[in-house]
Symmetry: D2
Subunit: 299 residues, 4 copies
């Protein structure tokens, strides 16, 4: 008999992820702050609940995917949250991107009730969620990971158990550190090309063959050339993730100057009202600084 | 009848590149400052010359690949250089990595003599030179590019004509901007993982599946984990390339803060006596700053 | 009749500030988490209280100076805090360095009870607190500032009313932005001198005459030469202040790349166990990066 | 009998410096590329010469103050330069701001002819040159410094002998490192104030009392508030000086990330056509990045 699955948070990511689980045959109890977000899933056979607590009362495994640390704390530890509803032996799988240290504190609190926790943030964006091709970075006890693994394999393609509780969030933070800086590096390169009178589209093409080659150059580089920053990964979410990165660096007492610098550009992007664009729009901050507009001279 | 090819500069890169041309059947005249570098090629049928001038007197196409701008100026414009020897209609192909503006000045000088020039810097390192799989970024007139293309295809795999004279060097500068910052970003990520108590090898593995995926993460990331920075692309050459990048930004009046920051780390790496290591050893400067040693806990 | 003054927080800064008020003739009710901190003041005539609430019940003006935002929230808004004890018409003067937005929220909460609030963070260190020569940056309503001004003039020398509620904290944040970067700039300059074989003490002397002249060059520059980072302004407090700066930049959507970079060095300093040293010890992170030890060759 | 003084380079700085020497009674031989620059000095009794060589033939001490390293090399080492004209025992005093390593090479070349050299770059701007209140940082042999000291005291106020040949240029580089970063730090602070809704003029006023106090905050901070960047120290000269700083860091193998970052902003300022403004106009690059315009709300 399949595990009964609860799902809390039916946003841009959560809804298609929940749908994939339902279609794979899992019985599903769902909750969303905005009730109408549950409707399409109910039509496919899910049961809508009035609170995270109600979801937990009906489920073996409860997945949460909401915006930020306080949201996770609210749906798990709040008055009508998962804690008062969860049965001993249940598993909470938080797929939000939040602080590693907050994750560890929440897991400890759940552990007191005999409830297990995995942190399992994702990357791959809305399209990856729809296609079930997300990368999923999982922290927590190995046997709990094994238990939940079939669900992960429905939602994602690259599923890696990276270590103990919090390790998933640390890995996601590392991911955002690399992506943010690579985006900014690609922005600098395309700007250097344009300012030098060389077609940035040809430069991108030439670089795709060598060591500089990356998915960022391929995908986000093209967005910069097309000036098309929608849809994608919203800058305001990247801003939040970089805040987590910098808070973690502060807690650990390590220096991440590159990440810190790019985080400032993202601040300026969001402050300028463009927080809803893909975070590769950060190139516009770089362009403003130098008064250079990246522009391909070929189609 | 194949073009007669001259080759000036038989260093780590030049020697295997010249050998590939010889083995593809091109008649070859060569010059190296250190005479003994020519011997292996002579044994395969090349003719050693006493000066770049003598090389030019015998060749239709002269390839140069030396260290820095003054070296290129010496072998092309010097007293016993290519200019006094080159025949009208000849082509000089400079495959060194030098300044775009110096390249344009040299091409103008050659043009006065009726000699064409291409700038065609490469990436891919010693291994790529040996295997004939270099990326070659070419600037210059399209018809000249077409004439030299068969030679490029012997030496490299990803051959792109990116624009007018200097465009190849600009593209190479863009390449180095992206690689240097991606290396530093990977360094920060692996350090963040280690300081957080998460195995950096697992983090790298998890990131290889998503947008953070890049050749740098794959290759240089592994070098950082292995503490094995030999062989590779020497830091002192990357330092020189970043100097070209920053001089170009200065000339153009644009801001490249990310590139400028990483260039400082490379300075410190070279200053510490490690200029002969692969430039991904820059991670050791990041580690020193934070007193964190990246270390995988698995194999 | 002088205002009855309450004082919450008798740390390195608070104790000498409270003592100066007592010696200036103000009746004084005090509270410190560690009871023994109150003893010396009680010996000079102050009354020790069991809670911030008890302090507030006895005072017209309550001064708080504690470590961080949660501490201020605890002593003002907590169960035995100032809010339940304060009389309408009382004034709370928070002289801690905390977040401007948290300050505005606390002031709003106090306003609901008819209690006024000023934010009045200080600079000048322990010595300035002892000597009564602090700089005090005050935000809040002008008439409230006028009422408290006589107390400020006992504790400080440079007392400026900079604007509405929160403006004092913003000004303190600006102060820390300038000091942190100037410290790092002086560190780079002295390192450049040393690496060039020039006596950094003479360089500092020469710079003191021109535009580079600053109190930081004078005081912290000398600390760097003397390798004497005690006493001073503790790096861990500067780290906290830079966290506030970066959180504020995040909230406002502005880019402060220079501040962000220096904050990383301070992270590494504190992470290395040196959070108790003066924040000019950040030079040791810069020195580690470049493996250069600043050293005067004279005296 | 006073030393016969030669003066090469009668630009914004050179002309008032030469005039002060003439008015102090020194016999003066002068040369300027643009002849008309010499006229006002000739009217005060100086003798115009046709070349630096002619100046050297008539002088005991030859002062040079021109734009950049190649200019100094031209007037000293060129065909009609100082070298062919200088008498053994003469002293060349270069008051330009150029590279320390180039300075050492020039001094070695002069030494071969029995000509002494001091490097003596200045700070204080046009006004300091007119008023004779420059800061002068001198490198070279102590006895040569003593010989030239009376001339320095006519031109400047803060005259410091900092070490051997090149030490003056190193000190000037340190000066520019501190000033550039302090300017950018003040820019960030005033922007943070403005974005927070606090009057940046009041913030500046409050900061002038504490450790953040500096001549840069006082003078350049006011320029930022007044949006008045003329006259001052031209950004394009600061750009050149930062290039020297970064080249020196490259040569020495040290990391100066703060200086490197600010140099990028200056690039963007100059690239935007504002190289003729005071370098504190760099704040406009910071403002563009964050789309915040610093503006005082008081007079």
């Amino acid at each position: 008999m399949p595990e009964k699955v609860g799902f809390v948070g039916l946003g841009i990511m959560g809804q298609p992820m929940a749908r994939n689980l339902r279609r794979a045959g899992y019985p599903l109890w769902v909750f969303a702050r905005r009730e109408e977000r549950a409707t399409p899933l109910v039509e496919e056979g899910a049961t809508a609940c009035v609170s995270p607590r109600a979801v937990a009362e009906n489920s073996d495994i409860v997945i949460t995917i909401v915006s930020d640390t306080p949201d996770v704390e609210a749906v798990i530890l709040g008055e009508n949250g998962i804690v008062p509803g969860a049965r001993p032996g249940a598993v909470v799988v938080d797929m939000s991107t939040i602080s590693p240290s907050a994750t560890r504190a929440i897991a400890a609190r759940l552990g007191e009730q005999g409830v297990e926790m995995l942190d399992a943030p994702v990357s791959g964006g809305e399209q990856g969620a729809i296609d079930g091709t997300l990368s999923i970075m999982v922290g927590g006890r190995p046997e709990v990971f094994e238990r939940v693994r079939p669900l992960f394999q429905v939602m994602g393609k690259n599923v890696v158990h990276v270590g103990e509780t919090g390790a998933g969030q640390v890995t996601k933070a590392c991911n955002q550190v690399v992506i943010a800086q690579t985006i900014a590096a690609v922005g600098e390169a395309l700007m250097l090309a344009t300012a030098s009178g060389v077609d940035p589209a040809k430069v991108r093409q030439a670089l795709l063959g060598g060591f500089a080659a990356s998915r960022v150059l391929e995908v986000h580089g093209q967005r910069m050339l097309d000036r098309n920053f929608q849809p994608g990964f919203m800058a305001r979410l990247h801003q939040k993730d970089m805040r987590i990165v910098l808070e973690t660096a502060h807690e650990l007492g390590i220096a991440l100057p590159g990440a810190a610098q790019v985080a400032q550009y993202i601040n300026a992007l969001v402050g300028g009202g463009d927080g809803g664009l893909d975070s590769s729009a950060v190139v516009s901050v770089q362009e403003r600084m130098s008064q250079v507009g990246i522009k391909s001279t070929t189609a």
